[in-house]
Symmetry: C2
Subunit: 165 residues, 2 copies
DNA sequence: GGGCACATGTAAGCTGTTACATGATTAA
DNA sequence: TTAATCATGTAACAGCTTACATGTGCCC
């Protein structure tokens, strides 16, 4: 693939759990080619370069994947605002919850589409269970977020007391 | 609070959804003091400085909180490894799932402790629902992760076919 | 001819981490 | 007395984003 295609593949395929910018991709491709982990050749379009992984590169990839995953320290803006809830305008806070819910719902719709595409296709058979697992992670996460929104709405705006009989 | 205390409070109280390092905290405190958003005074211990928020600072905090949360682009090492699952040794992959599950279980235990502390105390009454909401977010997220591990184990290692009668 | 998608690459600059240097206070 | 904790601050650097500069090829 070319750098451009790699970017698109990362955005479209890994989008819900990974990202890279051009500023990372192009210098990295040059570095990987210099190390012999990938090879470069002219692409179909003028000026474009297509890359392929080498045996050495595949070994390096596998060694990297065998490394324990790095967990990035958390910076969750929604929960930070929730923590300081009493300092926010209630309507503002409710609006934020609505936005979280709507985004989670939209993600669920996307995942449903990806899931049905994956289940319909019959290529890459050995990869399918793993790809479905990443989609499932997205679904479970979105479902948990929607549940959190429901519970939080109830928590912060307790129901009015029933009129006494 | 002093910078050191702020660090500890962030780690202990906001730890599951926020973090800051000393390299951020000390320069930021100096900048905030220069802007008049906080005031500095000598602390109890020799060489320590305690800070308090000013009215101006409180207004700035509220303005910041009213801003839409910034969502950091995702880099999920576990899902990246899952996506490339067929390139991993199955035992390695299973070990990663075990680790994810164990970490989620540990987080659930921590959250249970925090929750009971929050429910027992009767200070900061107006904050309690919001603090419980952040804990609940951690719980729901950990539960979703454990469910994902269960489902993924089944997905990638399909049950042996039953012996025919 | 214009606009869009494809395509590459770099430079400026911001954010944030890590490591280090330094020292006071407290508990074992 | 010695280790741990409290406490501050900086410098080097890693990582990454954004904006910009530049150009091709296709479709309307």
């Amino acid at each position: 693939m070319s750098g451009y295609e790699i970017r698109r593949a990362i955005t479209e395929v890994l989008g819900h759990f990974w990202h890279e910018s051009f500023g990372q991709i192009y210098p990295t491709l040059a570095a990987l080619a210099a190390e012999g982990l990938i090879t470069a050749r002219p692409g179909d379009r003028a000026g474009s370069t297509e890359y392929s992984i080498t045996e050495l590169g595949l070994a390096a990839l596998r060694a990297d994947l065998a490394t324990p995953p790095v967990t990035t320290p958390p910076r969750n803006g929604v929960l930070l605002r929730t923590f300081f809830g009493p300092h926010l305008d209630p309507a503002e806070f409710a609006g934020m919850l609505d936005a979280v819910d709507a985004q989670a719902a939209a993600r669920l719709a996307t995942f449903a589409q990806i899931r049905s595409d994956l289940e319909a296709g019959n290529e890459h058979a050995e990869h399918i269970p793993y790809w479905l697992a990443t989609v499932r992670a997205g679904e479970l996460n979105a479902l948990a977020q929607r549940e959190w929104v429901r519970e939080t709405r109830a928590l912060v705006r307790p129901p009015a007391t029933l009129p006494s009989p």
